[in-house]
Assembly symmetry: C2
Homo-oligomer: 342 residues x 2
């Protein structure tokens, strides 16, 4: 992308978003609704979203929280290995994907999957494949923190082989091992966050400890970040932007025993524009990374929304309604100039 | 070590300790003086300790802070490559070692060494070798946080080869690479902290982020911890206990941008006893690790002090004068029953 003054992105999509619930939902939903056409909304509430009624009710609460913004919350279910074909058929029209969490691996994931026995998962995953419901996966084992994602790659491969018609999205990938897996299996896709394109473990723990950059999966090594950057900047057709923007109240991030998650929703498009410009990537690639690839992979047609970014410094606010964003207080290169709907 | 009810350690030494200055010195010096015969006191004050007068004055302030406890502060200078032989001869009787910091690598190390040119260092290091002043080194490069220590090993080797009569102490080692270097050069020694025997990066950032376990060098991988445990438990003759106990006020640890350092001084001997028991290491090895090895390596004769530990649960206080210790609020297996001087 040449150093331009203005660029316009069409129908940006955030393919991995945490909107939480109740007060937090009301505090932060607008941050995404303002500049995105839609987002895949994660189902790890307390309790998790596991029924048709819960999906419908959560969608209503999101709609209420975003007032009348043009924004589609693409709803998801929290994966359970006992979802029947009949249940999935009934819920199909209400959801866009199903999210699988290994048990206990991240915020509110206690009820997730503990084993990855193909036969135990067969009925549900085959029904999902037949109904064209993508399986989104938080791919980490319970191993050593720097190895968890790479250790999960064989599980991705086992699932990809056993269910070749199932679209499997490796969520928020952070390692060169996951990037390499993308090209080995036709039915493996991935989302990449903006923060994992910017930081490594050095930024979290190399100087002072930075709780606002602490997330799961944790940021990895420089060579991992390079691998992510490569497929994002080239807009690899199996890769989509998914912020994994995850709000926690300031006190939960800055206290002892800080919660995992980086809040990027309000600055994601500005940061991605800065990044693509810095690396001289074509603007078409940014458009593909933030929208077109996802449309093709998921088969969705987003609401029409144009976001114009201008190369004017923007000082990131210290907080958005009590939530500290990435790069709080720092100056970033691009601002959102205007958003047009329709 | 068999599961005993009581053990007595003689003349324990902490070969790497931060006592800081002023209010903090007064708040925490007793924690070490109570249960140790002496400690190598690090010189990274603001400004660093670089003159004979500063050494003498700092020793006086320490003595004042510990009241009349039987405790020897073994003083150190902050290494400067321009220390002359004449200066070192003059200061020799006031110091036990000289501590080298690569520039900017940890708390108050801005004035440290930037290059490791053997010829630039020759006069000072040869004079130190001749005067039998050990060189203590914080061995980290400015590289990626998980690689910094391993990347420094070639610098240790270069120094060890160039100055074969100089005793070089690899301080607070955290990696299998440093452990391996110990046996390759006769003049390389090491200190190991208690926290690096207990934790890996998983404990710092694998679950919630734990600022009180954040330190430099950062805790590494499980196989690194295994390598440290092996040489500590066998009381490898070139390995000494050095706590690197580093107090920071609670707010500096729990705020955004947390300072590096774990405060272990008040619980170090209890934790080491628990560890050696758990691994069935002989009590003689613990004695060697916490005192005898250091006496031989440094050629020092500590004050006579016996510390009797009893297998009774001890709940670690939440704070010691505003400083949060390792395992604050948690129950550990051993308590200090009594300390006898002389």
């Amino acid at each position: 992308m040449p150093a331009t003054q203005k660029i316009t992105l069409h129908n940006p999509l955030d393919m991995h978003l945490h909107l939480r619930d109740e007060e937090m939902l009301h505090n932060i939903a607008q941050s995404s609704a303002k500049s995105f056409s839609g987002a895949i909304v994660m189902p790890n509430l307390v309790p998790p979203v596991t029924t048709k009624e819960a999906v419908i009710a959560y969608r209503s609460r999101i709609k209420e929280a975003i007032d009348d913004e043009a924004f589609t919350p693409y709803m998801t279910l929290f994966f359970k290995p006992d979802y029947s074909r009949a249940f999935l058929e009934e819920v199909r029209d209400e959801i866009t994907a199903i999210k699988l969490y290994p048990a206990g691996i991240t915020t509110n994931s206690e009820g997730g999957v503990s084993g990855f026995d193909v036969e135990e998962l067969r009925e549900t995953l085959e029904a999902m494949a037949d109904l064209n419901i993508p399986l989104c996966v938080h791919g980490e084992t319970n191993g050593f923190v720097m190895d968890r994602e790479a250790e999960f790659v064989p599980i991705y491969e086992k699932l990809a082989k056993a269910f070749p018609k199932l679209k499997i999205i490796m969520e928020h990938i952070t390692t060169k091992e996951s990037v390499a897996a993308l090209d080995r299996y036709e039915n493996l896709y991935a989302t990449i966050t903006v923060h994992h394109l910017f930081i490594t473990l050095d930024d979290v723990a190399g100087g002072m400890l930075q709780p606002h950059l602490f997330c799961k999966p944790i940021a990895k090594r420089p060579e991992d970040r390079e691998a992510l950057l490569r497929v994002a900047l080239e807009a690899h057709p199996k890769v989509m932007f998914g912020s994994d923007s995850a709000p926690h109240p300031k006190h939960a991030k800055e206290n002892c025993g800080c919660a995992a998650g980086v809040f990027t929703a309000p600055v994601a498009l500005q940061l991605l524009t800065e990044l693509f410009e810095k690396h001289n990537a074509p603007i078409e690639n940014l458009q593909a990374f933030v929208s077109t690839n996802a449309q093709k992979i998921y088969g969705i047609t987003p609401l029409q929304k144009s976001v114009t970014l201008i190369k004017e410094p923007f000082v990131v606010p210290a907080e958005y309604n009590g939530v500290v964003p990435m790069f709080a207080g720092e100056e970033i290169a691009y601002s959102i100039e205007e958003v047009n709907v329709g």
